[in-house]
Amino acid sequence: MAAPAQPVAITGAEELEAGHSLWQDAWLRLRKNKLAVGGGVFILVLALASFLSPLIAPHSYDTQNLALGATSPSGQHWLGTDDLGRDLLSRILYGGRISLSVGLAATLVAVVIGVLYGTISGYFGGRVDVLMMRIVDILFSLPFIIFVILLMVIYGRNIYLLFLAIGAVEWLDMSRIVRGQVLSLKKQEFIEAAQALGLRRRRIILRHMIPNVLGIVIIYGTLIVPRVMLTEAFLSFLGFGVQPPMSSWGTLISEGARSMEEFPWLLIFPGLAFSSTLFSLNFVGDGLRDALDVRASKD
């Protein structure tokens, strides 16, 4: 039965009814979404395999076997070898480590900067907001690739620099999204009520604003990861990312593309690994969006 509106005699022996937060609701909804669950499982398995690669990869990523050269899949090398005789499966596993870490790290950088920037801009409003958003607009218009290339030229090729650089671009999107959410939240009466109570601004931002912004941050954050990975792959493809013998999926695809006609497996397998990861991330992101969409909740 629906919760009664009548006052009930309060006795000490009453049990408290458990509450059911919106997060729990969302989790239940997410669990029902098969695509999202499938994608999530795939990512988890792949991530686990990649990060455990030193333990589980059959060979090291840089063990060369020049005598062998490029071979197609066999019992010894499940996915074949490249022209330097390096085991492709191992290289894909190790490469996954790089690609996934860059993806996660850069996304984290983007999210943290974006959320802080967007919240401040949205909450304070007025001239502060106008100024901050114009800066974002200007940064948006800068050609990203040239910026990264410049960085690489000045500071040398460095994996950490790579994710800082990518994160430094992706935060722009996130800040706009968060600002939009904060602006609409500001109009909600529970924020006015918090102000009316006389709560400090910091508390309002931390306790009332940010938890209600998290939903959208999670959704878009999850969708930033594939974008970041693509960007890293693109940069590596161009030769700006990781350097051999270290591999990322981007470099593997780049090498594979070069010898596509003779040794197609060198392109197909890394390509498959990469695209399945991207698909899975997108499914999870879409699933999260459907699950967390507040409009879908009651009333």
Binding site: A3, A5, S21, L197, G198, R207, N212
Partner: protein, 328 residues
């Protein structure tokens, strides 16, 4: 005549309308509240009525300093709230609270009832955490909510229950003044009465001064000691509730009362209604002179030239109409 508990002196809340992207310039002003003065005694219930655009919600928020007044004084128990800033204003907020219209938007959806009420209780006082559950339970009991639901989230309650939680939150800081902005408009008719009874009962029991803002005259009539009618940012009539209803002085008040349907088919079908022509005016382009004159069935030539001041008509009754004495 004792000192009024709440006094508003020529309060004005204006919003500039600006154009331009980086260098903004002012092209007009919305005079949402345009010179409101009134006095309330401790424990009185004032019904503030008017239609959309009249400024009643803006006035409510201005009194509570959620919107800064452009001019004028808001004096509560001798202190001018409009002059307070920063920490002093935050501390003073324990004395005055608001109940909002939308029960769905006025509670943080990610906080349980306990979180919301505990935060309010602890906003201005140090309360040891061991004591908090008992205090929260007492508050819930006061507004008629079972303490069994203390761990639940807003979306698990109905509109009426959410409004009770909102009222509990407002009471948690032990205020002396509560402004209720259309607190029952979003609720079903059969629930409205429950919430109105609650507010009326609590305000009597706790000697609260209550400003009840509504567009629903019949609700306001029932709960209020005094009534003030607003039109385009100004009060056009005020007085004791029964008096204003039985003998309205301002043509707008008469039209407003006439527009309320009487649930008695025979009388309703036969009665003579006052139907105003035209639309409510825009606060961006107010009419000259008396703002009501374009729609007023009793307007004459002077009415478009002179803005009538709010004046005492007889003891306790004020009206802002040039022709008030002639038409009554």
């Amino acid at each position: 005549m004792s000192e009024p508990f709440l006094e508003l002196k020529e309060v004005r809340t204006h919003f500039p309308v600006e154009h331009g992207i980086l260098f903004r310039h002012r092209v007009g002003t919305v005079r949402a509240v345009d010179g409101v003065s009134l006095r309330l005694q401790r424990g009185e219930v004032l019904g503030l009525v008017g239609e959309s655009g009249c400024g009643k919600s803006t006035l409510g928020r201005t009194i509570l300093q959620l919107l800064p007044p452009t001019e004028g004084a808001v004096i509560l128990a001798g202190k001018n709230l409009a002059e307070l800033r920063g920490g002093a204003l935050r501390e003073a907020r324990a004395d005055f609270q608001m109940v909002f219209q939308d029960p769905y938007a006025s509670l943080n959806p990610r906080m349980t009832v306990f979180d919301t009420l505990a935060e309010a209780i602890g906003a201005h006082k140090q309360v040891p955490s061991a004591e908090m559950p008992a205090r929260v339970a007492a508050l819930m009991e006061k507004v008629g909510l079972s303490r069994r639901f203390v761990k639940k989230y807003p979306h698990e309650f109905s509109g009426g229950q959410r409004q009770r939680i909102a009222i509990a939150r407002a009471l948690a800081v032990e205020p002396k003044l509560i402004v209720a902005d259309e607190p029952v408009s979003a609720l079903d008719v059969s629930i409205q009465a429950q919430i109105i009874n609650l507010l009326a009962g609590l305000s009597r029991e706790m000697r609260l001064t209550l400003i009840f803002i509504s567009h629903d005259l019949s609700v306001v009539k029932h709960i209020s000691d005094r009534i003030a009618v607003m039109y385009l940012g100004k009060i056009v009539e005020s007085g004791p509730a029964a008096g204003v209803f039985e003998k309205p002085l301002h043509p707008y008040t008469k039209a407003l009362i006439s527009a309320v349907a009487i649930p008695d088919p025979e009388r309703e079908k036969k009665r003579q209604r006052i139907i105003l022509s035209g639309d409510p005016p825009s606060p961006l382009r107010p009419p000259s002179g008396c703002a009501f004159h374009p729609r007023c069935p009793d307007a004459n030539a002077d009415c478009s030239r002179v803005t009538p001041p709010l004046e005492e008509f007889q003891t306790g009754r004020e009206v802002a109409c040039l022709r008030a004495r002639e038409i009554s």
